[in-house]
Amino acid sequence: MIAERETRVLNNVQAINEALDLALAKDPRVVLFGEDVGTMGGVFRASDGLMQKYGEKRVFDTPLAESGIVGFGIGLAMAGLRPVAEIQFAGFLYPALDQILSHVGRMRHRTRGRFTIPMVIRAPYGGGVKTPEQHADSPEAILAHVPGVKVVIPSSPERAKGLLLAAIEDPDPVFFLEAIKLYRGVKAEVPEGYYTLPIGKARVVREGSAASLLCYGGMVEVCLKAAEVAAREGVELEVVDIETLVPLDTPTILASVQKTGRAVVVYEAMRTGGFGAEVAARIAGEALDYLQAPILRVAGWDAPYPPFSAVENFYRPDAKRVLDAVRRVLTH
């Protein structure tokens, strides 16, 4: 918590809306755009009231075309603006992946620094709220495999606000994924006014000695819940909120695993090729001698996120599945 500041209770969407408001007020180069971002204030209301407050030149609706939105943003960025684009759902980043893979991450490298893309691309991601098909995807592993971009996934209103402001100040492109489940699912004290939080740092959000739960975004509350349950049985789990996937704070992850000797990586994307594989690989590459049990992954199954609402919650990891894995590493 930022010291000596008034706070207010906000949910994630409100915190994000406040961050966008503060960024528009502070830096005239900041522009906000995307589908339904202007008049309507975004389908989740993240930009609620901002077009009305800052005008259509700063906050505007675009045509329905994600490659166009990202490509247009690249142009705005190269011309010196600070574009903040919203992609309505992370599953709709897919049409923009060519612009992302071919340009967003390559521009600085290709032009040896002559052109850079200080752009933020926001998108709601993840499941748990019975959305229609493809509204619950978690494509962070794809983004983390794009050279030259940063990937940030906040897990609370306070973090979301400070990290989003840091992302907008960042000289490099930042993907900012917001867990849909947390938009209105969490309310917490948020410091007032403008503040930034450091991109590239993982955080121990609960200390423990029995095993490390490594997670981010929507899985943090799941892991904290699992840790609580375990604590009742006297098992103290450590929960690490990775928060920034790229650049990854490997030292903080290793320090936790070196302390506990056991690691469970939790993410809701499809297991194979998910970002948790990278986390596991780094541990296996740099802290193997400390491990007393296999590194387990609790993740979405190797299947599409189910479009079938009645059973969707069997896809997304929950406290029970996390605890099953914890039991396995503890009894190994």
Partner: protein, 344 residues
């Protein structure tokens, strides 16, 4: 560009109508069936017995008029998520559609005798696929056609362009039906594109483009009929812009009050496709109160039966979510399946 129209807003004919009385009655019945489903589906949705539902009120003629020209066993229907009316007319069982909007696996498995692709969420992606389906029929030597639906907003996506280009280059037997309903959620068509008429886009692909009054069943039906005949003759695709209006919210979760006025909607309610067709039938002496009441009762019966059937669908099992990923289960799915069944 001239807009093809047969009936005025009251249903008075403006030119000679190329359909027999039987056809006209069949058309009206199809409109009413769709409308009835839409109205009752919204009620189910409010009762929590459907998931997110995208109503099509006001767009029935634009969808039914096209579907009436297709054969479910032979031709292809490629909808977005908005075309439940087209699906009903094309031959999808109502119970499946209820299950489909309940996001139930039993609804997502389309019957073998209905060549309909599932409702698509990712905008415009159905376009190149529809071109491929249509071209495949040509390669196979059949005279089947495909009809693909997309919205005004959907025309902005790259896939709209790539699909149209492929369809035209390969002379695919395809109807591209753009329902210009004025809105893409909160974005009006004027913000979506600079051009006044979407049908003008056809000129960039060297194919015919037609603007039709999307609230005039006779107009849509006859325009679609000609496009289908042209396609069956192997002369390639047609772009049809059906000018209509989404008088309902975008979906059951949308609040149009945030982006548009009641007046605009009211104006379009006065052009209701069903009232217009009904007016025409009455003008022809083919319809009356009694018949209307009888039909309503019949449709209600059909709907209730469909709901019963849908309610009898087995509860989806948790492990179904890892089935049908591949033709055969690989170890990664098998492990998940075992876990979900509580087997070690």
């Amino acid at each position: 560009m001239e807009t093809v129209q047969y009936l005025d807003d009251t249903g008075k004919p403006l030119r000679e109508v190329p359909f027999s009385n039987e056809e006209l009655l069949r058309g009206y019945r199809a409109l009413r069936r769709a409308r009835h489903f839409d109205e009752r589906a919204l009620v189910l949705q409010r009762q929590g017995r459907l998931g997110v539902y995208p109503p099509f009120r006001g767009q029935e003629a634009a969808q039914v008029g096209v579907a009436l020209c297709l054969e479910a066993r032979k031709d292809w229907l490629c909808p977005s998520y908005r075309e439940t009316a087209a699906a009903i007319t094309f031959g999808m069982p109502l119970s499946r559609l209820i299950l489909s909007w309940r996001a139930d696996p039993a609804g997502w498995c389309i019957p073998d005798d209905v060549n309909m692709i599932q409702f698509y969420i990712p905008i415009a992606t159905q376009m190149p696929q529809a071109a491929g389906l249509a071209y495949a029929e040509r390669l196979k030597g059949s005279d089947a056609v495909a009809a693909v639906f997309i919205g005004d907003g959907g025309t902005s996506e790259g896939d709209f362009h790539e699909g149209l280009n492929f369809a035209s280059v390969f002379d695919a037997p395809l109807l591209v039906v753009v329902q210009n309903n004025g809105w893409a959620i909160s974005v009006p068509t004027q913000k979506q594109m600079k051009v006044q008429r979407i049908a003008l886009k056809a000129q960039g692909y060297g194919i015919p483009g037609v603007v039709v009054d999307g609230n005039d069943l006779v107009a849509v039906w006859s325009v679609a009929k000609q496009a289908v005949e042209r396609a069956r003759r192997g002369e390639g695709p047609t772009l049809i812009e059906a000018v209509t209006y989404r008088v309902a919210p975008h979906t059951s979760s949308d609040d149009p009050g945030r982006y548009r006025t009641e007046e605009e909607t009211a104006r379009w309610l006065g052009r209701d496709p069903i009232a217009r067709m009904k007016g025409y039938l009455e003008h022809l002496g083919l319809w009356n109160q009694a018949k209307e009441a009888e039909l309503t009762e019949e449709l209600e019966g059909e709907f209730l039966a469909a709901v019963d059937e849908a309610d009898q669908a087995p509860e989806p099992k948790p492990w179904e979510i890892v089935e049908q990923v591949y033709a055969e289960m690989h170890p990664d799915q098998q492990a998940a399946w075992n876990y979900l069944r509580g087997e070690p």
